[in-house]
């Protein structure tokens, strides 16, 4: 199977800063890739290069096996892009925005009518066609953005932090839409700073300062993660964290609500972990090993870099 996107040695600098450092990765067809990383990791730069609106200094991108750089413009019809900032016209209505993008992509006739209808229903925007885009709520704006990015039936959908500042309900609904698209064969690349969104994707790419820290399917990444993570729910998690932090034999101790997640080397046996914790005067009663969440993996891997 050819990869939907395949990037070789993508490199991009802005002045002195290396935004992307020789990235090589590929996205299989009909998969959902989550690109996750802190601010300035290069997420937006990467998506912009894939969308063809920013040039890489060196390296190549192939879309469905064709070298992107030579057929730059013609490939744009295969790609739907949703920038991080709301890219639609706030002084146009929902319908006018959709029509504009339909015209731009030369979607005509019967095909256009059915597709617009389907997208409006699919995004549940049909009651709001006459509303100005600027008057929509955050979640609705994102759904409209998605509808406009889909008007030309792209094979690949690039979404740059689409759920930022969107409330949990709208976020869930948005993901449901993404799953529906993915089911029909659309390849989706989504950048996010929500770790739980990374868990919803079928592949995961962790960026840190322009480098790929880890990439692959979630199960694979979990299996390769060489830290063991323990959960501890003491009386007062923050006091316990302070105690454990001094002269700690652990890789990291992070607060998750009222619990602590304690990461340790795999080699360190449960016995020694228990010992180390009780020696600091913290009760080990609630201690248990857990399957590391992506947030744990993220914390673990980004601290190594």
């Amino acid at each position: 199977m050819t990869a939907a996107i395949s990037a070789q040695s993508l490199h991009r600098t802005f002045g002195e800063t290396v935004a992307l450092n020789n990235l090589t990765f590929s996205v299989p067809e009909a998969s959902i890739l989550a690109v996750v990383g802190p601010d300035g990791a290069g997420k937006t730069t990467l998506l912009r290069i894939l969308a063809g609106i920013l040039n890489a200094d060196s390296g190549t991108v192939q879309i469905s096996g064709d070298d992107y750089s030579h057929i730059f413009e013609s490939k744009k019809a295969d790609i739907g892009y949703m920038p991080q900032r709301f890219g639609l016209y706030e002084d146009l209505t929902v319908q006018e925005n959709i029509d504009f993008f339909a015209d731009l992509f030369s979607v005509k006739g019967e095909q256009r009518r059915t597709r617009v209808q389907r997208l409006l229903q699919f995004s549940r925007m049909d009651p709001f066609t006459d509303r100005l885009a600027g008057k929509l709520s955050g979640g609705m704006k994102q759904k409209l953005g998605l509808a406009c990015a889909l008007i030309h039936n792209p094979k690949i959908l690039l979404l740059d932090e689409p759920t930022n500042g969107v409330d949990p309900v709208s976020r869930r609904e948005f993901w449901r839409l993404l799953y529906d698209l993915n089911r029909d064969g659309t390849t989706i690349v989504i950048s996010s700073s929500y770790m739980d969104e990374a868990e919803r994707a079928s592949r995961f790419l962790l960026l840190h300062k322009g480098n790929i820290i880890t990439e692959g399917e979630p199960a694979q990444i979990r299996a390769n993660f060489h830290q063991a993570v323990y959960e501890l729910t003491p009386e007062d998690a923050r006091v316990a964290k302070e105690k454990l932090n001094s002269d700690s034999p652990f890789l990291s101790i992070s607060l998750f609500g009222k619990s602590l997640h304690i990461a340790a080397n795999r080699e360190m046996q449960l016995e020694r972990v228990t010992e180390a914790i009780s020696s600091k005067g913290v009760s080990v009663e609630s201690l248990r090993e857990i399957i590391p969440s992506f947030e744990d993996i993220y914390i673990g891997l980004s601290q190594e870099h």
Binding site: R48, A51, G52, I53, L54, N55, E73, S74, K76, A77, I79, Y81, M82, P83, R85, F86, G87, L88, Y89, E90, D91, L92, E96, D99, F100, F101, D103, L104, F105, S106, K108, C148
Partner: protein, 373 residues
């Protein structure tokens, strides 16, 4: 080039203009305001000039001459005195703009044909002085011919050679006839460059450009689509301004409407392409606004010959004026309105305007990058 995409851009742009009250006001209210402002309030014609009269002659002839002055409408007698110092004082204190002094032997001098009168004006007000001298010489010339005819008792048909000034194409020296064509050029400059210069910058500022350049739109399609609505506004404004000028201010129009349309289109292309170029370069509305004021509005106002005759500018500035499209357009408009010139006399200006339109358009489309820098 894909007509669908051009249409998409043009339609979107039109909707945005219609929804943006600021643009609408700028597009239609500003031209009307400007034309009435210049037509009524700022007139270059000076009438009712306050005059103090010192008539030492006090003869029928002198009284007749004074009557000629006051009946002309250009002068108003505010005081008559026999004291020249008093007259000088009035002029010094700007109570009067001119003192008309008629010598004692005026009547005698008239018979010998060497009559002289003295006009005292305030030279610091150069405009008025010029008008005073101009009007006065007209009045005197008329007086001369009338008195010669009378003296000969009507028998002498051959009058002595007198200076006869005739102002071609604007016989009444009406400044509106002169201003309105220039004003049309100015209005189209403001609208063309200002409105369009904001559009691309606005898309960058609002973040809509990032999405737009991710589509298969071509730079030329974007440019053409964006220009169309502003071109239409420009042409509507042209005919609006021309209509107000012709009907309300009674500016004569001797030329052909088709030529007016043709040359206005050429000029609009040049101005819009210039505005579009600014817009592409600027990336922020504030900068675009400043740049368009600097590069099109100010030169269009000051160096195009709109108010200040180019021939009386210093040579270096005259040279600069050659790269200002407004210069050519104003020449064309004045010719069309007042002379009714045809294409055979205006084609050079046409070529110049076409040249600007092409150069600016090329620069703008070449400068536009479909990538984020």
């Amino acid at each position: 080039m894909n007509a669908n995409r051009i249409w998409a851009i043009a339609r979107k742009e039109t909707l945005q203009i219609l929804r943006d009250h600021r643009s609408l006001i700028l597009a239609f209210l500003l031209p009307i305001t400007l034309i009435f402002l210049f037509g009524y309030a700022i007139t270059l014609d000076i009438r009712q000039i306050p005059a103090v009269v010192v008539d030492y002659s006090n003869s029928t002839h002198s009284r007749e001459l004074i009557r000629k002055f006051t009946n002309s409408g250009y002068f108003v007698e505010i005081e008559r005195t026999a004291d020249q110092d008093r007259a000088t004082e009035l002029v010094d204190r700007s109570k009067a703009k001119v003192a008309i002094v008629i010598p004692v032997d005026f009547a005698n001098q008239l018979t010998t044909g060497t009559a002289e009168i003295q006009l005292l004006t305030d030279g610091s007000d150069a405009n008025t002085t010029q008008s005073v001298v101009g009007y006065a010489s007209l009045i005197i010339a008329e007086y001369n011919s009338a008195s010669i005819a009378r003296q000969s008792g009507g028998r002498l048909s051959l009058s002595p050679v007198t200076l006869e000034t005739r102002f071609w194409f604007n016989p009444d020296l009406d400044s509106q006839n002169f201003l309105v064509p220039g004003l049309i050029s100015l209005i189209m400059t403001i609208l063309g460059s200002l409105l369009i210069s904001l559009t691309i910058a606005r898309e960058w500022e609002r973040g809509t450009m990032e999405l737009l350049i991710s589509t298969p739109i071509k730079p030329l399609e974007l440019a053409v689509g964006k220009v169309i609505p502003y071109y239409i506004i420009g042409i509507v404004d042209l005919f609006l301004a021309a209509y107000v000028g012709i009907v309300i201010f009674e500016v004569p129009f001797h030329g052909s409407l088709w030529l007016l349309f043709l040359f206005s289109s050429l000029f609009l292309m040049a101005v819009l392409a210039n505005g579009y170029l600014i817009s592409v370069v600027a990336k922020s509305q504030q900068l675009a606004f400043q740049l368009s004021m600097l590069t099109s509005f100010l030169p269009g106002f000051l160096l195009s010959g709109f108010l200040f005759p180019i021939s009386s500018m210093p040579v270096p500035i005259q040279i600069v004026s050659y790269v200002i499209p407004g210069r050519y357009f104003i020449e064309v408009l004045r010719s069309l309105f007042l002379k009714g010139s045809g294409l055979e006399l205006l084609y050079l200006q046409g070529v110049a305007l076409l040249f600007f339109a092409v150069v600016f358009s090329l620069l703008a489309t070449r400068k536009f990058r479909k990538t984020i820098q």
